[in-house]
Amino acid sequence: MEAASASLHAGEAEHHGPPAAHRSSRVDPQMLGMLLFIISEIMVFGAFFTAYFFIRVVQANPWPAAGTELPKLVAGFNTAILLSSSVTLHWALTSVKNGNRWGLRAGMLTTFLLGLTFLFVQINEYVHIGFAPHDSAQASVFYGLTGLHGAHVFIGLVLLLMVTVRAFRGHFSPEAHRGVEIPGIYWHFVDVMWVIVYCSVYLL
């Protein structure tokens, strides 16, 4: 019987899978990949902060440009919204580790909605802030940094949406939750990066 099925598949003999690769590190490949990607992302932000440094410090331009004002308070509330989404994301991850399916779904959905709220508040801020990128170099840096971060929130939201869809379709279990954990790390990175952007652009 076995021989018969073997000859049946002789034509696809080379279609057997590869031998499992040897694991030479305790680090998860996906986790390591995400961490390296985050290093790369930090460097993109680093380049935008270089622009900020040259225009604000080296060029000694007043910050913000004369006659403009940055909505510190609204952005502060927005910061709180984004940071709380990190907490709900952690709740979702803890839930899936404990096998709490309802907690996973509720946590992911809340996180996604909080992130979406942040993005809407940010866009609303652009509409009402009263200056445009072409008004001054400071305005360019402001839109550059917050826009770059906004783009990352958007990417993060796409990832969170995938996780949420999969959570509602019954994926993930206490044994297999890497699909929640790794996009989650990205989301935490986006949050931490916002704190840095908020402090240097709005507060300082």
Binding site: T50, A65, D135
Partner: protein, 637 residues
């Protein structure tokens, strides 16, 4: 027909490409309507810009790079161990999305060699124009476009990706892994490349001509250029994204997928070299991405990162572009050199039948270059008008970075010392590399000296230096590597006689082409010009004639590769009697590399050590050393 348009492949890719342009057209029209612009549907600049971004992404979706991930993201069933897109059974498999690192490696190498020839032909056009003073074939702005596209293609579409291609093929085999860590990401990073290259070449068709800012695209020149500049700005983003994704893949592969027994200090130096390069790429490449984002935002959305004249207290800072650009692009010269160092280490050790001299110092000097590479960027800006004091520390660090490079040169020389040299084509290119790269390194240290640099800034001395390190350095290592792994990749032997002819022609004509440029530069002939003073005419004519011969010698290489691949004698598994793992499997290797993961029991370069073994095809339990049978990593005095 609809089935063909639904299945991943070229038909769907072409359809999606059109959809991408349509999407860009509609997006621009709608946004401009919302902003109450005049004639919202007729802005060719904006439509082209958005198309340049959207169409490649649509193409990638169409050809099938994202199919698996889309299925995964929407929660549809996927099989992680689905190998339907793995491996090549006919030449057609090289023209579709393939997840086999060997296929991707060949795709990378062939694509980048294609762009090498495109870039080389452009160089021939330039030399034709420069054969005499005055204007002959092209006008000056076309000439600016020629040298810009030449440099951009050869840097972003040849040197960087061809190293990624060689590494893609060799590294999983070398470390005993069945494939890269992320095969689908690997395929995606390959498919971005032909798009980037096509985009740069197509810039010649843009109104106003190709981008004419050099490969550096300094602001504000780049922010004021005609539309052709966008083809560079977006093309570099694609090539950069491709290179970051590959580097990340290499790092994860090297860290997590080494065969049992292969500790970091048993890795072949090619693996070390690509490990270091990948670190550089992951850390530095985002900076060029950002610099091109700045240019994109300036051009497309009216940002003012660089403009002055907005009023006191509102001005941008124009030198910021150069700082950000060189913070990538100086490490980038090591991205274009370190993998070559790895190739040379392999070849010199194998071909002189001796252990590599100072293995650990070779590895550490790579890491030293990675670290020091980030401390020297402003030596490109000595005459830019930046703060004068920065020049001194940059001069010192630049001189210091020659030390780890010197360690490598001397280690190679010491490896050759009293070795049994096999002077075949790969070895000849390796020795040629040692000569020309040392010359290029010396002119590099000369350029680090501020007074000398000021004297030769923007002259042909710079052209000579960069070609000595990138042509005499990188390209020689690439030729060496292609000849060295040709039997492994194709299963055929190349023609040794033609290989030697190729080497000697390249070596002689290379030196005759670029050597005299040092003299021209010191005499003050400016680079990047189509016309020049009468006094430089004789030397330029000689250079042009020799450069055509250099171009012709590339045809010997092409002929050798094509003919040998089709009908060369079959290669044995290990024609060089090398120890590293890729030579322990058949040529070409089996579709999944290894039937069983090998175990590494010794160092990779123990040539001439009696009984030395690097890897064996047994599990670690079976491979436990029993007295006298296996020489475990011999300790040398």
């Amino acid at each position: 027909m609809t089935a063909k348009l639904r299945a991943p492949g070229w038909y769907r890719a072409a359809l999606f490409l059109l959809l991408g342009v349509a999407f860009a057209y509609v997006l621009v029209g709608v946004v401009r309507t919302l902003m109450h612009e005049h004639t919202p549907w007729h802005d060719g600049q904006a439509i082209t810009t958005v198309s340049l971004i959207a169409a490649p992404l649509f193409f990638l979706v169409g050809i099938g790079c994202f199919d698996y991930w889309f299925a995964w993201a929407s929660g549809r069933p996927t099989r992680p161990e689905d190998h339907s897109s793995h491996g090549a059974h006919s030449w057609r498999d090289y023209f579709r999305v393939n997840t086999d690192h060997k296929v991707i490696g060949v795709q990378y190498i062939c694509t980048s060699v294609f762009f090498l020839f495109v870039g080389g032909l452009i160089a021939m056009l330039m030399r034709a124009e420069l054969a005499q003073p005055g204007m002959q074939f092209v006008d000056s702005s076309t000439f600016n476009g020629l040298f810009s596209v030449h440099a951009a293609l050869l840097i972003f579409l040849f040197v960087i990706p061809v190293f990624a291609g060689i590494a893609n093929y060799v590294i999983p085999l070398m470390i005993g892994a069945p494939d890269m860590a992320f095969p689908r990401l690997n395929a995606l990073s390959y498919w971005m490349l032909p798009l980037a290259g096509t985009m740069m070449v197509l810039s010649f068709l843009a109104p106003g001509g190709a981008f004419a800012t050099g490969w550096t695209a300094y602001a504000p020149l780049s922010t004021d250029m005609p539309l052709g500049q966008m083809f560079f700005t977006v093309g570099v983003q694609l090539a950069g994204a491709s290179s970051i994704a590959t580097a990340l893949n290499f790092l994860v592969t090297i860290i997590t997928m080494r065969a049992p027994g292969m500790s970091f200090f048993r890795m072949p130096l090619l693996v070390w070299a690509n490990f270091s390069t990948s670190l550089l790429v992951v850390i530095a490449t985002p900076f060029i991405a950002a610099s091109q984002f700045f240019v994109l935002l300036d051009r497309a959305l009216g940002f003012h990162f660089f403009d002055t004249g907005l009023g006191v207290g509102k001005d941008g800072y124009v030198l910021m572009y150069q700082h950000v650009f060189w913070f990538y692009s100086h490490p980038a010269v090591y991205i274009m050199m370190l993998p070559g160092f790895g190739i040379i280490s392999e070849i010199i050790s194998v071909k002189s039948r001796k252990p590599i001299f100072g293995y650990r110092m070779m590895a550490f000097s790579l890491l030293a270059i990675v670290v020091l590479g980030f401390t020297v960027w402003a030596h490109h800006m000595f005459v830019s008008g930046m703060q004068g004091w920065i020049r001194i520390p940059m001069m010192i660090t630049t001189a210091i970075i020659a030390v780890p490079t010197g360690i490598k040169i001397f280690s190679w020389l010491a490896t050759l010392w009293r070795g049994v040299l096999h002077l075949d084509t790969p070895m000849l290119f390796a020795l040629g590399f040692l000569t020309t790269f040392t010359l290029g390194g010396i002119s590099g240290v000369m350029l680090a000296m501020i007074p000398f640099d000021i004297h030769v800034s923007d002259t042909y001395f710079i052209v000579a230096h960069i070609h000595y390190v990138l042509f005499g350095g990188s390209l020689f290592t690439i030729f060496a590597g292609i000849y060295y792994w040709f039997p492994k990749i194709t299963g055929r032997m190349y023609d040794e006689r033609l290989g030697k002819i190729h080497f000697w022609c390249t070596f002689v004509f290379f030196n005759l082409t670029f050597g005299p440029m040092h003299v021209l530069g010191i005499e003050g002939m400016p680079r990047r010009v189509a016309d020049y003073a009468q006094q430089y005419a004789p030397l330029n004519l000689a250079i042009s004639i020799v450069s055509f011969l250099l171009g012709l010698s590339m045809l010997v290489f092409l002929y050798n590769m094509v003919v040998s691949w089709r009908g060369g004698p079959h290669a044995v598994a290990n024609p060089w009697r090398a120890l590293t793992l890729e030579w322990q499997v058949s040529s070409p290797p089996p579709i999944f590399n290894f039937d069983a993961v090998p175990t590494v029991v010794g160092g990779p370069y123990e040539y001439g050590v009696p009984g030395a073994v690097h890897g064996i095809f047994q599990s670690p339990a079976e491979a436990r050393p029993t007295a006298g049978t296996i020489a475990t990593s011999p300790t040398r005095e």
